[in-house]
Amino acid sequence: MAGSNPNAKPMNLTLNVWRQPNRTAPGKIVEYHVKDISPDMSFLEMLDVLNEDLLHAGQDPVAFDHDCREGICGSCDLFINGRSHGPEKGTTTCQLHMRKFSDGDTITIEPWRASAFPVNKDLSVDRSAFDRIIQAGGYVSVNTGGAPDGNEIPIPKEISDRAFEAATCISCGACVAACKNASAMLFVSAKVSQLALLPQGQPERKTRVENMVAQMDKEGFGACSNIGSCAAECPVGISLENIAILNREFLAAKATSNNLA
């Protein structure tokens, strides 16, 4: 993979961008041209250039989601050339650099598409369905009183490593966007297995998986066909093993919980 090349020439690009004025109005793809894009820019910086051009021309800039711009917040939800977060494996859009593209390229930029993720405006998407799934069970109860000692609860290294791997999910929604079924199983499975693996997650273990899956279904996400697009496009590499854990946590909870409702 070529690193930053001081001699790399600035690029001229054609952008096909989804424009939609608000939630209810219909949208369409609009063609723009950007000039003199440095290969060292991030994809979002390239969009900043586009927006400056639009502002100078007295036009409405393109709305897109971003926050940390360092790959940790999961805001930058862009579907680029038919892939979540673009062509590079294991990156968010903010960490995608323009050197992955070539002078003269046409780049198609769309919002995440899922019935559970309505488009706010242009490329900005409402992912609060994820928040409601977390509210339904993605938490642990904590006792009041003095703070417990850090190492009071013994957790085997292997378990803590696996829980940590699952915990790296940044709730970006790339899994949903890439899935043919717009399924949120990878996201939900990361949260469920993270907490199911740890002793702190045991009190709510059964109700958590029951409630989170019920909320996931209620939000209108699709079911899992074990296709694997999600894990392949996930910027932090959450694995499909988590979905198997979710399935057995769900089955075990349904078979043994005291919840008759």
């Binding site: 050339n81 038919g82 890439a178 079924n181 717009a182 899992c224 198997a244």
Partner: protein, 250 residues
């Protein structure tokens, strides 16, 4: 709704029914394939007709048959219900979509593959099952007292497999079944939560082998009869002996 109906109408619950019925159908395929190997015995259908008589009259088999009907019924119903749900989950599609860069074709087209299998299944059931059970096939006849009073399903098979479009439909359906199982076998285990770093690679390759052996095994039957038998079901001298050798082992 009770907790039971809630469980099995949830997205994961439906997939669990899908995988249990799918894996059950896989066991059916094994039995069906081994049974049908009798066709290769080079005995003018004596073994095959005896076997099909047993399958059609034995009360245990007739009971299990209802399980098979339910298995197919639930598998197909859940396929429909899940497909509907999954379509509704994305009503506005993408202008550009490159799923081929992140997943296998078979896994994204289980519904199309299943529909081809279903069309085949209806033709197949009418042609063999229906005629064998209700259609009044001619008797075997001849001198051998062990088989002469049996229905001659062997000859019905020979007849069908001399019709070119029938052979084509069979082979296409078996290719679809092969692809369906290529993804389906391992997917069924994953749905049940049976994923383990030690065994999942094994399940994957067993699934691939299963898909190839089962689909090639079934496809070999129409091809063999089309190419190597005359309309009376007599085997040509140049017929490959491999299938006969395998059949003789059972």
């Amino acid at each position: 709704m009770s907790w039971i109906t809630k469980t099995f109408t949830s997205s994961i619950g439906r997939k669990i029914i899908m995988s249990l019925t799918g894996l059950f159908l896989c066991t059916f395929l094994v039995v069906h394939l081994i049974g049908n190997l009798q066709l290769f015995k080079h005995d003018q259908g004596a073994a095959f007709n005896t076997y099909s008589h047993f399958m059609g009259t034995n009360p245990v088999i007739r009971t299990i048959e209802w399980g098979l009907v339910l298995g197919f019924g639930f598998h197909i119903f859940e396929a429909w219900a899940l497909t509907r749900r999954n379509k509704a989950a994305r009503t506005q599609g993408y202008a550009q979509w490159h799923a081929e860069k992140n997943s296998e074709w078979t896994s994204r087209n289980m519904g199309i593959l299943g529909t081809i299998i279903l069309i085949f299944l209806l033709v197949h059931l009418y042609n063999f099952f229906w005629r064998a059970r209700f259609g009044g096939l001619p008797k075997v006849g001849g001198a051998n007292p062990e088989v002469r009073d049996l229905d001659n399903l062997y000859l019905a098979v020979v007849d069908s497999f001399h019709v070119w479009w029938y052979v084509l439909l069979y082979v296409l359906a078996q290719i679809s079944l092969g692809y369906h199982l290529w993804h389906g076998f391992r997917s069924g285990f994953q749905t049940l939560g049976l994923n383990h770093r030690k065994y999942t690679p094994l399940i994957k390759y067993v699934g691939y082998a299963f898909a190839v052996v089962v689909s090639a095994g079934f496809a070999s039957m129409p091809l063999y009869f089309f190419l190597f038998t005359n309309p009376q079901g007599e085997i040509a001298a140049n017929a490959p002996s491999l299938l006969h050798t395998i059949a003789s082992a059972f």
